[in-house]
Amino acid sequence: MLNVKNLKTIFPTDRGIVKAVDGVDFSLKHGEIVGLVGESGSGKSMTMLSILRLVPPPGRVDNGEIIFEGKNLGDASPREMMRIRGKEIAMIFQDPMTTLNPVFKIGEQIRESMRIHGLFKENEVFFRDLFKKKQKAKEYNRAIELMKEVGIPAPHLRYNDYPHQFSGGMQQRALIAIALACEPKLLLADEPTTALDVTIQAQILELLKKVNKIHRTSIILVTHDLAVAAEFCHEIAVMYAGKIVERGPVDKVIENPKHPYTKGLLASIPKITKVKKKIKAIPGNVPDLAGLDKTGCAFFDRCDEVVPRCKEVEIPMEEVRPGEFVRCIHYTSKGVRASG
């Protein structure tokens, strides 16, 4: 349904070109949930914005194809993109407080995308005013229905509330309602639970799961929390410095990680077990993309399995087993891992 091929998004800066997204490939089927995992600055959010063609200037998509339902979004005109955004592909942003407009009522904001996409528009142009009332009533009912669906209590009363009257969890629910208004086929969720407490996080993830099941909406979940991705997604792609370094079915990636970065991430999460094991941190910091050397693996200076060739050759994505991809020198077809 969605097929992203060799996506590259760049930002020209005075320190040189920053490759925020550097050759990302992945695909998504109907009703599937894919998790995009990585630390801050790894290019997860930029990948999402590139799909919607919302990369803030001076950044731009430099290369690559985004095929959505057989149509290349790279070739779509701004008008066509507007029709796709919100209707076919909807996005939930990280921080609900800044995403919602503080001066409009929650209900009106849910109605907005239905109005823009003309969900209940009558065809007649004559007597438009007559139909407008009818259209508005339909939109109102749908908004109430949506608020009920996402679990906002007393929707008739809450329709007239402003964002600041909602708690963080409720705001996130309102955002999900807005995203679902036009029944999109694809939902891009950018860290939807990061700003929330664990108990509220559990509520929101449960809600997204329900949406996925009932409407068969495909979801791309962007998160830095491997545990959230592990529970929620069918497939996981781990990103590092603008590249996907490992991709595969969730169980395979979590239980048998191949890339040293994935292994490191898994080892640095404290686990709740009876006997406490010392957690292993990945040394060093997330690299600054502007100063990044062009060739080789970006993880080489933090990696404990590094070999001199890591920095010399461009490392391709290799399909280790059907559906499992790794970008690491130890798994390239020429140098299949000799040890362990």
């Binding site: 108990t199 830095h224 592990a230 529970e231 404290p270 941190a281």
Partner: protein, 333 residues
């Protein structure tokens, strides 16, 4: 540690309350008949902290964790209740002796971006606590700063850098160095890792643990991430709406939690381990506002195990059910 010290807590907190009062303006009072509102951020906490241990404090945002931590280090004056540090009530410490207390007790702040002055170099930032300690010689200070920086995993050459030149994890290291500079005994770590990336978070946690062993530090570790709390703490206290609802040894709390809120909190942790996943208790609603705390049990509005009328009427007592496992719930009495 000898037997006598073990029984005497380093910090003893009794019925600590911190209320913030908002008075209406003159107009609001006269025309709109507004009344003053009281936000009960910390509302009666009892806690003993022993020498050399790490107490984890968990709770959702707005439950009063941070206020509690700040009240203990005397950044806020408590509304009522007592904090005794090494047998001395903090209220009785005279202004001139406050310096000694402030050196023994330090705090590491949550946000490494806002807790360091952007106009001062690392050297300036770390000089202040050293000056307070009475080290007036500049070269001696510089040697000390170099050692401190080395200890927290930075290089002595960083002494003339400004905070913006560092990443989040490195800045948190500076914050830790600042706290260490006065050779404290007790450190309140207020969400020291929640603003950091996972791979860096592990580095900081490990650093804090090494320092604890080296200097025999006592920590109050405030966090909302339960897996981090489990990893660092000897005992864990769970806070809800300004009160500690359950406290126990870490493994006891994680394996044998009693309070419904703790149960729900624990079941909500996402895990990477598929076998460990359990049925999730999804709590309804959100934390009520601390301006208007429910009568009776403060958790009753979200509780899934509510017993009977007693939960509505009577506030549950904080009772010990053995082995230092205390819980405030009507189910256990």
């Amino acid at each position: 540690m000898d037997e006598e010290n073990r029984n005497k807590p380093l910090v003893n907190i009794k019925n600590l309350k911190k209320h913030f009062i908002k008075k209406p303006s003159f107009l609001g009072k006269t025309l709109l008949k507004q009344k003053k509102t009281v936000l009960k951020a910390v509302d009666g906490v009892d806690l003993d902290i022993h020498q050399g241990e790490t107490i984890g404090l968990v709770g959702e945002s707005g439950c009063g964790k941070t206020t509690f931590g700040r009240t203990i280090v005397n950044l806020y004056k408590p509304t009522s209740g007592n904090i005794t540090y090494k047998g001395i009530n903090i209220r009785d410490i005279k202004e001139e002796n406050m310096k000694t207390f402030r050196q023994a007790v330090q705090i590491i702040f949550q946000n490494p971006y806002s807790s360091l002055n952007p106009r001062k170099t690392v050297g300036d930032i770390l000089s202040v606590p050293l000056k307070n300690r009475g080290i007036t010689d500049k070269t001696e200070r510089e040697v000390k700063i170099g050692k401190l920086l080395n200890r927290v995993g930075l290089a002595p050459r960083h002494i003339s850098s400004y905070p913006h030149q560092f990443s989040g994890g490195q800045r948190q290291r500076i914050g830790i160095a600042r706290a260490l500079a006065v050779q404290p005994e007790f450190i309140v770590a207020d969400e020291p890792v929640s603003a950091l990336d996972v791979s860096v978070q592990a580095q900081i946690i490990n650093l804090l643990q090494e320092l604890q062993e080296e200097y025999n530090l006592t920590y109050l570790f405030i966090a909302h991430d339960l897996s981090v709390i489990h990893y660092v703490s000897d005992r864990v206290a769970v806070m809800y709406l300004g009160k500690v609802v359950e406290i126990a040894e870490t493994n006891e709390l994680f394996n044998n939690s009693l309070h419904p809120y703790t149960k729900a909190l624990l079941s909500a942790i996402p895990t990477v381990d598929r076998k460990k996943r359990q049925d999730r208790i999804i709590l309804e609603g959100t934390v009520p506002t601390p301006v208007d705390i429910p009568s009776g049990c403060r958790f009753k509005t979200r509780c899934f195990m509510k017993k009977d009328k007693i939960c509505d009427v009577e506030e549950p007592k904080f009772i010990d059910i053995g082995n230092g496992h205390k819980v405030a719930c009507h189910l256990y009495r």
